[in-house]
């Protein structure tokens, strides 16, 4: 039961990073966070990273719940991550990237558990 929380957290982290990429890859939200305009090149990189993160978030869900339940949870976690991001961005823009750092740590913890614990 406990390991499934780590899978869920990792998926949520990847989903958050993905949504963060998609969000900051939009000019208006990049400006909201960084107060200067978004260059097209950076925008493309962010959006690509964003889509990748969202897709990769499926992996921990598959690991924890298999195909059918995993897909259901993945979609739900994508929504949850996006919702959290929107409210962070609206009320405390700097925190949304700090949240990203936390997400990275969570994913690393999950990868670590796969490598050493299994």
């Amino acid at each position: 039961m406990n390991i499934s929380w780590l899978h869920a957290a990792a998926s949520l982290g990847l989903a958050y990073l993905g949504m963060l990429g998609l969000c900051l890859g939009m000019a208006r939200h990049y400006r909201q966070r960084y107060h200067h305009p978004l260059t097209p090149g950076r925008g493309r990189v962010l959006r690509l990273a964003g889509w990748s993160g969202c897709l990769l978030a499926l992996a921990p869900c598959l690991a924890g719940w298999g195909a059918a339940q995993g897909v259901v949870l993945w979609i739900g976690l994508l929504s949850a991550a996006a919702t959290g991001l929107v409210f962070l961005l609206a009320w405390r823009p700097p925190w949304c990237t700090r949240g990203g750092a936390l997400a990275v740590l969570t994913v690393l913890a999950w990868l670590g558990s796969l490598a050493f614990g299994g």
């Binding site: 039961m1 899978h7 969000c23 929504s79 949850a80 919702t83 609206a90």
Partner: protein, 502 residues
């Protein structure tokens, strides 16, 4: 007058069906959200049960011992096996017309003096039926259909759905920020909202439009299930034969259904020569809400039949049911649905408030001279259906601790507390100005939920197990959030009043 465009008509439909049906949808959605944790709430409402690590063989042994004691001569015995979310053993005995039940400690077999309560099942029941039987189910189905339409026409109306995907501007004007919140919660929650609403309607559609039952089964309600679930029952012979121990049968059943996966056991005609024992699998680990089962002849121990394969169309249907009931996935899935449900409730509540906020600035005169009074009624209904139902739900739990354990009909009294408090919130909302009503009811609901842990311990002293603690902590956090909402609301209304006075 020109015919309205598609967008105009969809916008109109979204606004007015959202308002009218929103008053039913918010309570249905909120109680449905609570119903995710029905087992935990039921456990909280029966504090006589202490969590104990249960083991199937032991659980069956204590159940069997007690049933042999009290169930002599009863044609039906049932055992509900303990699980991580339902720690005690439940036994039922009797006939089809009348049954008696008891709750046993899963290790010692002691009969627990559990108070009569509908438990968390009340929230599920209200959510699915508005506590009104078949008519209630038809109403909830209709409400669900209107919600599906509102989701679709909401998408149609939301022109900038992709540009505004992450857009929420709380610092903007009231109308802008409330609309942003409604849109964001709606769009980001769309997969969950579509899934939960569609599957909910699927579950109930036969109550609303029983065409399939009439055309294919001549109106017989149990017909479809009877065709899908195979039965291996035997007619009682009328000849007495002692019932052997059920333990070996449990072992055999677990080889087919999986160790620790037996959820329910049904014994027919115990003490008869043709007694049968059926083992049913629990639903916790698959999407499809389908219980594989295996039946044995009790006296000989021979297997009479098993079912692990299902009609694929029926299985698909039960998968839709399973996606709605979320028995699968463990606690991460439960919490995901719970938080998604709260977000959906918030989305609809924000929509209701948005309706009034838009019209405070620019009245629409939709009702001629009565418009102002109608708006007042709408404001009151908004408060009662959002904050009021949250307060009433807390009152249900408070009643569980405050009412004496041996009160006659106490289950009905608890439910009565829910409806009585809800009715009072409607009266309160009708009498007070909107700002005062919202503030007062959010504060009341917030306090009722935040103080639930105190109520828990005061009403049922003793060590808290993890599930009761979980309910208490969630209630505390939720209650504090509601108190915070009440404070924000009172500041908003005070600021608006100051601006008007200036």
């Amino acid at each position: 007058m020109k015919a309205p465009t598609f967008t105009q008509s969809m916008s109109w439909l979204h606004t007015w069906s959202g308002l009218l049906f929103g008053w039913l949808l918010v309570p249905i959605f909120f109680t449905g959200t609570l119903a995710v944790f029905e087992p935990e709430i039921s456990h909280w409402m029966r504090p006589e049960i202490r969590h104990a690590p249960a083991e199937p063989a032991r659980a069956l042994a204590v159940a069997e011992a007690r049933l042999r004691q009290v169930g002599e001569g009863a044609p039906i015995w049932r055992v509900q096996m303990p699980s991580s979310r339902q720690p005690a053993v439940g036994i039922v005995w009797g006939s089809r017309e009348q049954t008696r039940e008891e709750v046993l400690h899963p290790l010692s077999g002691e009969v627990l003096p559990v108070r009569a309560t509908e438990g968390g099942h009340f929230f599920t029941h209200f959510h699915a039926e508005l506590d009104a039987g078949k008519v209630g189910r038809a109403i909830v189905c209709l409400v669900g259909l209107v919600m599906l339409a509102a989701l679709i026409n909401g998408i149609v109306v939301h022109k900038k759905i992709f540009q505004d995907f992450f857009t929420f501007r709380p610092q903007s004007s009231a109308q802008r920020s409330w609309l942003d919140a409604h849109n964001v919660l709606g769009v980001l929650g769309l997969p969950f909202l579509l899934l939960i609403t569609y599957t909910g309607v699927v579950i109930l559609v036969d109550s609303y439009l029983p065409a399939a039952t009439y055309h294919f089964y001549d109106g017989k309600a149990g017909g479809p299930r009877g065709d899908v679930v195979r039965s291996f029952e035997r007619r009682p012979a009328g000849v007495a034969a002692p019932l052997p121990s059920l333990a070996p049968l449990l072992q055999e059943a677990e080889t087919v259904l999986g160790a620790g996966h037996v959820g329910w056991i049904g014994i027919r005609a115990p003490g008869d020569r043709e007694a049968t024992v059926q083992f049913m699998r629990h639903l916790d680990d698959r999407l499809g809400a389908v219980a594989d089962h295996i039946t044995f002849a009790a006296v000989s121990g021979w297997e009479l039949g098993r079912q692990t394969e299902w009609n694929p169309v029926a299985y698909a249907f039960r998968t839709q049911v399973g996606l709605h009931l979320v028995h699968f996935g463990g606690y991460p899935a439960q919490w995901l649905y719970f938080l998604s449900g709260l977000a959906g409730t918030a989305m609809m509540a924000v929509g209701l408030v948005l309706f009034t906020i838009k019209r405070r600035k620019r009245p629409g005169h939709e009702f001629g001279t009565a418009t102002a009074r109608v708006y007042g009624a709408i404001e009151s209904l908004n408060v009662a259906t959002v904050a009021g139902v949250m307060l009433a739900s807390a009152a249900f739990l408070w009643a569980n601790r405050l009412l004496p354990a041996d009160l006659a009909e106490r289950a009905a009294w608890e439910i009565g507390a829910f409806f009585a408090v809800w009715a009072l919130t409607l009266v309160h909302a009708g009498l007070r100005a909107p700002g005062a009503a919202w503030r007062g009811q959010f504060y009341a609901a917030g306090l009722a939920w935040a103080l639930l842990p105190l109520c828990d311990v005061a009403g049922a002293p003793g060590l808290l197990d993890a599930m009761r603690l979980g309910v208490d902590l969630t209630a505390l956090v939720g209650g504090l959030a509601l108190v915070y909402l009440g404070w924000r609301v009172s500041r908003r209304f005070a600021a608006a009043a100051a601006k008007e006075a200036a």
